[in-house]
Amino acid sequence: MTTETKPAYNVVGSRPLRPDGVDKVTGRARYGADINLPDMLYGRLLRSPHAHARIVSIDTSRAKALDGVKCVITHEDLPGATDEIVDLGESVSPYKWVLQNVLASDKALYQGHAVAAVCATDPHIAEDALGLIDVEYDVLPPVLSVHDAMAEGAPILHDGMKTVEMVARFVPGEGRGERETNIASQLEFEHGDPAAGFEEADIVLEGEFETAAAHQGYIEPQNGTAHWNSDGTLTVWVSTQGPFAVRATVSKMLDIPLANVKVIPMEIGGGFGGKLPAYMEPTAAVMSRLTGRPVKMYMNREEVLIGTGPTSATYVRCKIGAKNDGTIIAAEATLAYEAGAFPGSPVGAGATCMFSSYDIPNIYVDALDVVTNKPKCQAYRAPGSPQGTFAVESLIDQLAERLERDPMELRAQNSAHEGTRRADGVVLPKIGAEETMQAAIDSPHYRSEIGIDEDGRLLGRGVSMGFWTNAGMESAAYASVNEDGTVNLSVGSVDIGGQRAGLAMQFAETMGIEYDLVRPQVVDTDSIGFTHVTGGSRVAYATGIAVHEAALDVREQMEARAAMIWDVDAGAVSYENGIISGPDGQQFTFKELCGRMPGTGGQIQGQADVLPTQPGPAYGCHIVDVAVDRDTGKVDILRYSAVQDVGTAIHPSYVEGQVQGGVAQGAGMALTEEYVYSPEGRMTNASLLDYRMPTSLDLPEIETILVEVPNPSHPYGVRGVGEVPIVPPLAAIANAIYDATGIRMNSLPASPTKLLDRLLDD
């Protein structure tokens, strides 16, 4: 559905083939693992078997003596750690922590923490050499949950760490806390008068909620190849969401100029936030510089699970207060998110997003970032929002039951709208929350009956809203117009979700030409202006504006070219729908004028470098029917509908795919996915056999309803679409389980074991 009359687009809204499709289905697409260079060495990482241990000594002499080994390095071979705050593209962080996560220094802080690296002429020799590195550990008790981490007398991960305020982290003052802690930082939001709001409430509902760490689950493991040249330049081939972030990290760690590092992003087999940081690339680069030969490194699946960041495991305590007429007038939450070994959980985003589907006048949120002996968590699709939203949406479901109200009608009554203040005080711009809720209420799914299961399973339906802020940030685009009327469009945004197609479509729409005339490509960091990461659902929006601006640049130059040819003022020439018109009925088609470029000033290139700031927040509303087997505790999803405000769907098929993918990942977090640890802090399910992600056999066809409330700050109304669909599934499925069984699963995943225990207790 579209909420207002949409302009008659020619390309936007159509469903053309993706430009990278043939390469991918024929296996010709080149991924990082396909890189093979002359004299290439193979690097491997030695990882800590202990979750928490002091590194007493590392003896690499036996490994270095192994025939075929060319280099063994430890933290001492990296440039010195400093407290300098660095912005390496994916987040701001003290350099020492970035460095220590690449190779541990004095402490191993999680099982899988890299402590040494080897490169050799053969990957098997490199693997053998790892067994010849002698590391003496002083094993320490691990901290494996936020509760353990914040308990009195908990082992401290980082000597000297004090809690800091995320916003006012540099407020001067004396005596503001001397105790060492694992609470790395705190963030508080408050607006209105929460205490007065709860005082005024007729009903107050409260609960505690937990979620488990879940991995992004990309198909392609991390990989990277670095080649140091004798002229002091470095080339890196890598699977990443942020080529410029990798460039910054490698430049910093090798202490060489940014311009000396060229990062070539390969095709990427998924990322979902997990491929924002650099893991092995700096190590490969250091070893390449030491050996003078290219060094290739890649992870196996176990390494991906134990050595790269999942999303946080979380604890949320939440309270809402409402009037008897259903108006929610107060809300409060305390969030504690695991950051893993180094500070930096997405708890700030969780605090910002969790209440933002609703217009609540009084809110207080207390958010804590807590370090634990687990891999440093990383971004994962709408990082932080699903977990906080799970708590809020569970309580709203309870409120609807208490008031005997339809759960969607109650949500719609309290919907956020343009002018609503979020928890952080920011006022929401034009949004589509109300339209999304109404579309859900009107959907065939919501209006259908659940029915009775022939197999005797318990059936239930649940709903949930979800919110994500989306992001803007810098993007560049470069368009080279060819004399045959085709265009090479270069961007720096790695294509994870069909962005090449979506960007070419926006460019073609602005130019008024056919989509097939535009050949988009993702280029290396030497070949395009600075472009932020592919993340935050920002590419279709921000890089979309960049290609639009580049097209406008081309159009302006074509108008000037036509004016020169016709010998008229440029102001007398106009460009519309691929036709350049001048006085006296003179016209060129786009292709005709392209043919005139040689000999009239040469070819035309358009470019743009943009920094847009109003990405347009996104809302989703999900409806799910489940069947619960009371004998096994297994939950089957019978029907799932995802309603989402997408602004304008540039390529509806890819938008639908993004929504469906988000639902699948959210369903995994709700039902099966979790990191399971032994008491010693070792992950006991570090394979995809035991770490159970949903497959196509586990899920029905995800029905999508695209609501289009155009973002006024984008030329075609784009809102980011990739992240918000992972937000509602946790609560929607938990609410459906309750509807089916009468059991509130406040701790996710609702795995068969956990749910069966609850069913048997009942």
């Binding site: 994916e90 987040s91 701001v92 800091v164 305020e165 003052g173 503001r176 930082s185 963030l187 930096g344």
Partner: protein, 121 residues
């Protein structure tokens, strides 16, 4: 210049404003607004500025729109200014100065952080 700007003070910075949630300020750029705040509530400049830029990890929103130009961003008359953590996946946080929680104050003043409330064992 008229103090027509409303600055929303994050809870962690309210010690600088004697607990006030919002304070008036003047200025037509963020830099001028920070100077105005500093004049009335010393400590803001040190809290927000490093060198000639906003501290990393911070963002400023003017009328609810984040300002990538930082200190150079224009501020229209009667604007609202919010001081926020920069939002990004896995946003980091670090510093040398601790916040008011875990301060050397009675546990009763830190109700959400009492260890017994967190211990599940």
């Amino acid at each position: 210049m008229t103090a027509d700007i409303t600055v929303f003070v994050p809870i962690g910075m309210r010690p600088l404003t004697d607990g006030l949630r919002t304070v008036p300020a003047s200025g037509r750029t963020i830099a001028e607004v920070v100077d105005s705040l500093e004049a009335n509530y010393p400590g803001f400049h040190e809290s927000l500025v490093e060198g000639n830029r906003l501290k990393r990890g911070l963002t400023i929103a003017v009328n609810s729109v984040e300002q990538p130009l930082g200190l150079l961003a224009k501020v229209p008359p009667n604007a609202e200014v919010h001081i926020l953590p920069a939002m990004a996946g896995g946003q980091d946080c670090r510093a040398t100065i601790p916040c008011r929680y875990h301060a050397d104050v009675p546990a009763s003043a830190q109700p959400t952080l009492e260890p017994e409330k967190w211990s599940r064992r």
